[in-house]
C-alpha cells in the first residue's frame, strides 16, 4: 500500500468517524444528564433526514431552511418521546427505561415503514455538500470538511448552554441529584425535556449530514449508525462529550482500516466494531476519557 493510498484510507476513516462522533455526542449528552441510554437516538437521526427530505422535496423550502425545520421537528419529536414514553417511568428501575427505549426505537422504525414505505429515497444535496476536495493526493468529500466544523460549533454551543446558562446549571444539578434539585425549586421536568430536545436536535443534524454523504434514506437507516455511535460513546467514555468525539474517530478509522488492510475480512467489519465495544466493556468500562465514578452512597 502506497502512502497516498494509506492517506486516502485514513481520510475515508476520518470522514466516517466524524459522522459517528456527531451522533455519539447526542447519546452521551442524554446519558450524562439522565443516566438513560436513549436507543431511539438512531431513529430520531433517521427522522431528521426524512423531515428535511420532505421539507425540501415536497414543501419546496430552500435547502438550509428545510434542514433547520427538520432539526426543529426532531427536537419536538424528542420532547414528545420523553413526555410519553420516558417520564412515566422516571422512578422505575433503570432496566424498564432501557427496554422502553428499545420499544420506542422499534415503534419509530415500523411507523416509518408503514407511512413512508421501505423503498429508499434519494436525498437532495446542495453543491456545497457534494464537492470533492483534493488534499495531498487524497480526495475528501465536502461533508467531511463540514462535519468537524459543525460538530465543533455544536460543541461550543453545548458547552455554553451547560456551563454558562441557568438552564445548564440546572442540567448539571439534575445530573448530580434529581431530588435535591427539585427541592431547590427547579422545574426538573422542564430541564429534562430540554435535554431531550437538545439531544434530538443533534440526532436530526447528524441524520442530515449522513444523508448528504450517503444520499439514500430509508426507515431503517438509523439502526447501524446508531449502534456504532453508541459504541463510539462507550469507547470514548459515556457521559463525556470530548470522549464521544474521540470514540467516533476511533470507530470510523478502525472500520475503514479493517476493510483496507484485510479485504477478505470486510464481511466482519461490523463484528469488528462491536468486538471493540465488548473489549472496552471488559477492560475499561469507563472508556478512554471517562472517570471511574464511586458508587453513590
Amino acid at each position: 500500500m502506497t502512502w497516498v493510498t494509506f492517506f486516502q484510507q485514513l481520510m475515508n476513516g476520518v470522514s466516517l468517524g466524524s459522522l459517528y462522533a456527531l451522533l455519539a455526542i447526542g447519546y452521551t449528552l442524554v446519558y450524562g444528564i439522565l443516566g438513560l441510554i436513549n436507543f431511539a437516538h438512531g431513529d430520531v437521526f433517521m427522522l431528521g433526514a426524512y423531515f428535511a427530505f420532505f421539507m425540501i422535496a415536497i414543501f419546496m423550502l430552500p435547502w438550509w431552511l428545510g434542514v433547520i425545520v427538520g432539526i426543529v421537528l426532531c427536537a419536538i419529536v424528542g420532547m414528545t418521546i420523553e413526555r410519553v414514553a420516558y417520564r412515566p417511568l422516571r422512578d422505575a428501575p433503570r432496566i424498564s427505561a432501557l427496554i422502553t427505549a428499545v420499544g420506542v426505537s422499534f415503534f419509530i422504525e415500523n411507523l416509518g415503514l408503514v407511512t413512508v414505505g421501505a423503498r429508499p429515497k434519494g436525498f437532495p444535496r446542495p453543491d456545497l455538500m457534494k464537492n470533492v476536495y483534493i488534499l495531498a493526493g487524497a480526495r475528501i468529500h465536502g461533508v467531511t470538511l463540514w462535519v468537524p466544523i459543525i460538530s465543533l460549533a455544536i460543541l461550543a454551543v453545548l458547552l455554553f448552554i451547560v456551563y454558562r446558562t441557568k438552564m445548564g446549571m440546572a442540567m448539571r444539578a439534575v445530573a448530580k441529584d434529581m431530588e435535591a434539585t427539585r427541592l431547590m425549586g427547579v422545574n426538573v421536568d422542564r430541564v429534562i425535556l430540554l435535554t431531550f430536545a437538545l439531544g434530538s436536535a443533534l440526532a436530526g443534524a447528524g441524520g442530515v449530514m449522513w444523508a448528504c454523504k450517503y444520499p439514500q434514506i430509508n426507515p431503517l437507516m438509523g439502526v447501524f449508525p446508531g449502534w456504532k455511535a453508541f459504541t463510539a460513546a462507550v469507547v470514548g467514555g459515556i457521559g463525556n462529550v470530548v470522549g464521544a468525539m474521540i470514540g467516533g474517530f476511533i470507530i470510523g478509522v478502525a472500520e475503514i482500516m479493517i476493510a483496507a488492510f484485510f479485504p477478505s475480512l470486510t464481511g466482519y467489519r461490523d463484528a469488528f466494531v462491536f468486538g471493540i465495544l465488548i473489549f472496552f466493556l471488559l477492560i475499561k468500562p469507563s472508556g478512554i476519557m471517562g472517570e471511574t465514578l464511586k458508587e453513590k452512597v
Binding site: 480526495r139 450517503y214 482500516m257 479485504p263
Partner: protein, 373 residues
C-alpha cells in the same frame, strides 16, 4: 310468527351456504413478496406487474374467481420460509409467486418441493434456485448466462481488458454472479485486477473502492442490488474513479437514478427486457396500460411479475383442475407461451431469454443492445 321466524332461519342458512359456495369458487394464488426490507422495490414492482397482468387477462380461470393472497417476506430468508408455510398450510394456495431474490427463493425451494405446491419467481436468477427442485420455476434468465453476456459486452463492446468486482458477501445472487463474471471475463482473455466484498446494508464503500481505484481497472463490475449499486457509483466517482461501470439486473430500479443522481450517468447494466419495444401483443398491451396508469416507463420487474402470473394461469388452464401437482406438470410443459417480455418455453424450471443491455442516459434507462446466447 313462527313461520316468519322459520323463513328467516331458512334464508339465513341459505345465504350462509351461498357464502361457503362462493369461497369454494375462488382460486387462491399466493404472492410471497418483498414489500418491505432491503429489496422492497423489487417485491413492490413484481406485485404491481402481477396485478396489472390480472387486470388484462381477466379475473377468472376455469370459471372461478382468482384471488391473490399477498404475504410480505420482509426481504428476509426466514420470513420467506414462514410466508411460504403460511400460504400453503393456512391459505391453501394452488400455486405461488415466489420471492424476487435468489437467497429467499433458495430458502423456500425445499418447502415447496416437500409440500408439492409449485412456486415461480419473477426474477431469482441464481442457477441453484431451480436445480434439483421439481416444484420451483423462474420467469427470468440465469446468472451464468447473464455474467457471460456481461463479460462478452465488456470485452467486445467496451474494449475492456481489466476488470474489478465489488460483490455483496451476504447475498447468494451477488456472490454467484460475481464469480460467474470473473470466470467468464478471464475465459475471454480479460484480467481481474481487484476482487472486493461488501455486505447488504453497508453504506460506506470507500475502503474497498480506494483499493479498487488503486488497481486501475478498465471496468468496475457491480453484481449488486440497486441501493448498494447506486451508493457505490456515487462514492466511486467521488473518489475519482473514471473507468466504466457495468451492473446487472439488480440495478434495474428507479432508485438507481434517484439515489445515484449524476454519478450513475453512463452506467451500463444487463437487464431482462427492453420495455420500450414489446415483442408480443400482451407485452404491448401491458406496457401501454402501465404508462397510462403511472405516467412512466415500466421496469423489467413489473414485466417479469406479469410473466410469472401468466405462466401460472396458463398452466392452471391446461391442467384443467386445481391440483397443485397437475399445475406443476403443466408449468413444466409450458411451450411457446406469449408473455409480456417475450415467448417462454420452460425446461427444468428455467427458460432461456435474450439478455438486454441498458445504459443510464440523462436519468433514463436506454436500450443499448440485445445479446443472444
Amino acid at each position: 310468527m313462527k313461520k316468519v321466524l322459520g323463513l328467516i332461519l331458512v334464508l339465513a342458512l341459505l345465504s350462509l351456504s351461498f357464502g361457503v359456495a362462493l369461497a369454494q369458487d375462488t382460486v387462491k394464488i399466493g404472492a410471497n413478496l418483498e414489500m418491505t426490507g432491503a429489496v422492497a422495490a423489487y417485491g413492490q414492482m413484481v406485485w404491481e406487474g402481477v396485478n396489472l397482468a390480472k387486470e388484462i387477462s381477466g379475473d377468472q380461470v376455469l370459471g372461478k374467481n382468482i384471488e391473490l393472497v399477498l404475504v410480505d417476506n420482509k426481504s428476509d430468508r426466514v420470513e420467506s420460509a414462514n410466508a411460504a408455510n403460511r400460504l400453503i398450510d393456512y391459505e391453501k394456495v394452488v400455486a405461488m409467486i415466489g420471492p424476487a431474490i435468489s437467497g429467499s427463493m433458495l430458502a423456500i425451494g425445499p418447502i415447496c418441493d416437500e409440500k408439492q405446491v409449485p412456486v415461480i419467481s419473477a426474477s431469482a436468477t441464481n442457477p441453484l434456485v431451480t436445480q434439483d427442485r421439481k416444484f420451483v420455476f423462474r420467469a427470468c434468465f440465469r446468472d451464468d448466462d447473464q455474467a457471460a453476456a456481461a463479460a462478452q459486452f465488456a470485452i467486445e463492446e467496451l474494449a475492456a481488458q481489466t476488470a474489478a468486482v465489488l460483490s455483496d458477501i451476504a447475498q447468494d445472487y451477488c456472490v454467484a454472479l460475481g464469480n460467474f463474471f470473473k470466470e467468464a471475463f478471464e475465459e475471454r482473455g480479460g484480467q481481474i485486477v481487484s476482487d472486493q466484498y461488501c455486505k447488504t446494508g453497508d453504506q460506506d464503500f470507500s475502503a474497498q473502492l480506494t483499493t479498487i481505484i488503486n488497481s486501475n481497472p478498465d471496468v468496475l463490475y457491480l453484481p449488486n442490488y440497486y441501493t448498494e449499486a447506486a451508493l457505490i457509483c456515487s462514492q466511486a466517482r467521488d473518489l475519482g474513479f473514471e473507468g466504466m461501470i457495468l451492473g446487472a439486473d439488480g440495478a434495474d430500479a428507479p432508485e438507481l437514478v434517484s439515489i445515484g443522481e449524476e454519478a450513475v450517468e453512463g452506467v451500463y447494466f444487463t437487464a431482462h427486457a427492453d420495455t420500450a419495444h414489446a415483442i408480443t401483443e400482451i407485452g404491448e398491451q401491458f406496457f401501454s396500460l402501465y404508462r397510462e396508469k403511472h405516467g412512466r416507463e415500466p421496469s423489467a420487474f413489473e414485466a417479469l411479475g406479469a410473466d410469472a402470473y401468466l405462466i401460472i394461469i396458463d398452466a392452471i388452464k391446461r391442467a384443467g383442475e386445481l391440483d397443485p401437482v397437475k399445475i406443476r406438470d403443466a408449468m413444466e410443459d409450458t411451450e411457446n407461451l406469449e408473455v409480456v417480455t417475450g415467448i417462454v418455453t420452460i425446461e427444468n424450471g428455467d427458460n432461456k431469454k435474450p439478455i438486454v443491455v441498458k445504459q443510464v442516459q440523462g436519468g433514463e434507462f436506454v436500450f443499448v443492445t440485445t445479446i443472444e446466447y
